[in-house]
């Protein structure tokens, strides 16, 4: 059996190179893989493209990586009022931003996961989001073409993993994590607890093990603000 369990957070992110495209789960303070983010900050990988709903809460979440100037481009729906280090880097033109409607961000990742080359949507028609995108008239509506978002890695947070990588999530900490797990080439899951194979009832698995490549156990960290 292929071993997915990592002995440490640092080992879990050890091969992430400079320039990697990385999806990072979490929303509203819940479901952020904060331990993995800190491990990546320690490793010091540079020129990262980050794909995440927001851009950090002070030092927390992606904040530390903007503080360290490790991120050159970010794809996000809502950078956020407490994304202090992102806002400083953005004002200094040290980081670029693609702002994407939140549901479209999800679907572009899901398209990548599903092997689809894009889709048409009415969301964003006539707005800044539509600039430079192909427009068509479908089913009576103006639509724009949205392309998939791929990633080399996804850093996600789940509650429980079995040793195969089947995952369950806690409450609304699920958010972006399942779709990112499916979309990236290599998915690294930070989990609160690891249980033996078979200990998660098959009906309760949310992310099937096929999407999960590395598992590391860590006590979740949460940032207020």
């Amino acid at each position: 059996m292929k071993k997915k369990l990592c002995a440490s957070l640092d080992e879990a992110v050890a091969d992430i190179p400079d320039g990697a495209q990385i999806m990072v789960g979490g929303f509203g303070g819940a479901g952020f893989p904060n331990n993995l983010i800190q491990a990546l900050a320690r490793k010091g990988a540079k020129n990262i493209t980050a794909i995440s709903n927001n851009c950090g809460t002070h030092d927390g979440e992606l904040g530390i990586m903007f503080k360290n100037n490790q991120i050159k481009h970010v794809v996000a729906a809502f950078p956020g009022p407490h994304a202090r280090y992102f806002l400083e880097r953005f004002a200094a033109k040290e980081v670029t931003l693609e702002l994407v409607p939140q549901g479209i961000l999800c679907e572009r990742m899901r398209a990548a996961a599903a092997g689809l080359q894009g889709f048409y949507t009415t969301v964003g028609v006539g707005t800044e989001v539509a600039v430079g995108k192909e427009e068509r008239f479908l089913e009576g509506n103006r639509c724009i073409l949205e392309l998939p978002i791929h990633a080399d890695y996804a850093l996600i947070k789940a509650q429980t993993a079995d040793e195969l990588g089947n995952l369950t999530y806690r409450l609304a900490a699920r958010n972006f994590n399942p779709v990112m797990a499916m979309a990236a080439k290599t998915t690294i899951a930070e989990v609160e607890e690891i249980v033996p194979v078979g200990a998660i009832h098959p009906e309760h698995v949310v992310t099937p093990a096929i999407f999960v490549h590395r598992i590391v156990q860590a006590k979740g960290i949460r940032y207020a603000g």
Binding site: L99, P101, Q102, E107, Y169, A172
Partner: protein
């Protein structure tokens, strides 16, 4: 003459709550809409949706009972109502975009006479702004109600012929509820439905940047 009294944000929310049909699936956006849950009329049950993957959100959690894995779109710990469910963000927005949400209430910076909405960035403000879920919700909700002040802090109309702020979606707004009026957006234009107590249609019109159609005697808003 002393300035006339406008509705408070809470009163706008209270009026907006009357628009919710029994049994509806409802999404509440940032700002005034977030207050609407507190004003549901007796006998009306609705199911609140949150874009981070909750259906069946209840009131805010009491101090000491918060679980920070169970938050609403504004990061506030919430309770659940019986029959609630969790799902991931892609399915949460499939619900908004796919026409599964009966009524969405959003805040607004500007609404045009065609029902275009601008609600994610104020020109000249610092930083890049934030779209969040607003574009998906505006494009997909079956009924979209915008709750906002009728004018800006400087007195400029927020209901305008054409939006000058960055747009969220075209021709998406069905009803506008402000501190001065209830206005329906229809193919023929903006129809004044109600005015705030003590205000006349002419006075409301003067503070509106687009033509308001008055097709009958306009009643004052009621709140119950």
């Amino acid at each position: 003459m002393p300035a006339k009294t406008r509705l408070t944000r809470e009163q706008i929310a209270q009026r907006a709550a009357l628009e919710l049909p029994d049994g509806a699936y409802v999404n509440l956006g940032w700002g005034i809409p977030n207050l609407v849950a507190g004003y549901l009329p007796k006998g009306i049950t609705v199911y609140f949706h949150s874009e981070n993957g909750i259906l069946g959100m209840g009131p805010r959690a009491k101090p000491g009972e918060e679980d920070f894995d169970q938050v609403d779109a504004m990061k506030v710990p919430v309770t659940l109502t019986p029959g609630a469910s969790f799902f991931h963000q892609a399915d949460a927005h499939l619900m908004t975009r796919g026409g599964h949400i009966d009524v969405a209430l959003l805040g607004g910076f500007q609404v045009s006479e065609k029902g275009d909405l601008a609600n994610w960035k104020i020109p000249g403000s610092q930083g890049p702004g934030g779209i969040g879920g607003a574009m998906d919700i505006a494009a997909g909700a079956r009924t979209l109600i915008v709750c906002m002040e009728h004018t800006t802090k400087d007195g400029a109309p927020k209901i305008v012929k054409q939006c000058t702020y960055p747009l969220s979606a075209l021709a998406c707004v069905d009803t506008i509820i402000t501190d001065l009026a209830v206005i329906d957006v229809e193919p023929g234009g903006l129809f004044l439905r109600e005015v705030a107590p003590g205000w006349t249609p002419e006075e409301v019109h003067e503070l509106t940047g687009a033509h308001l159609i008055v097709r009958r005697q306009i009643p004052e808003m009621s709140f119950a």
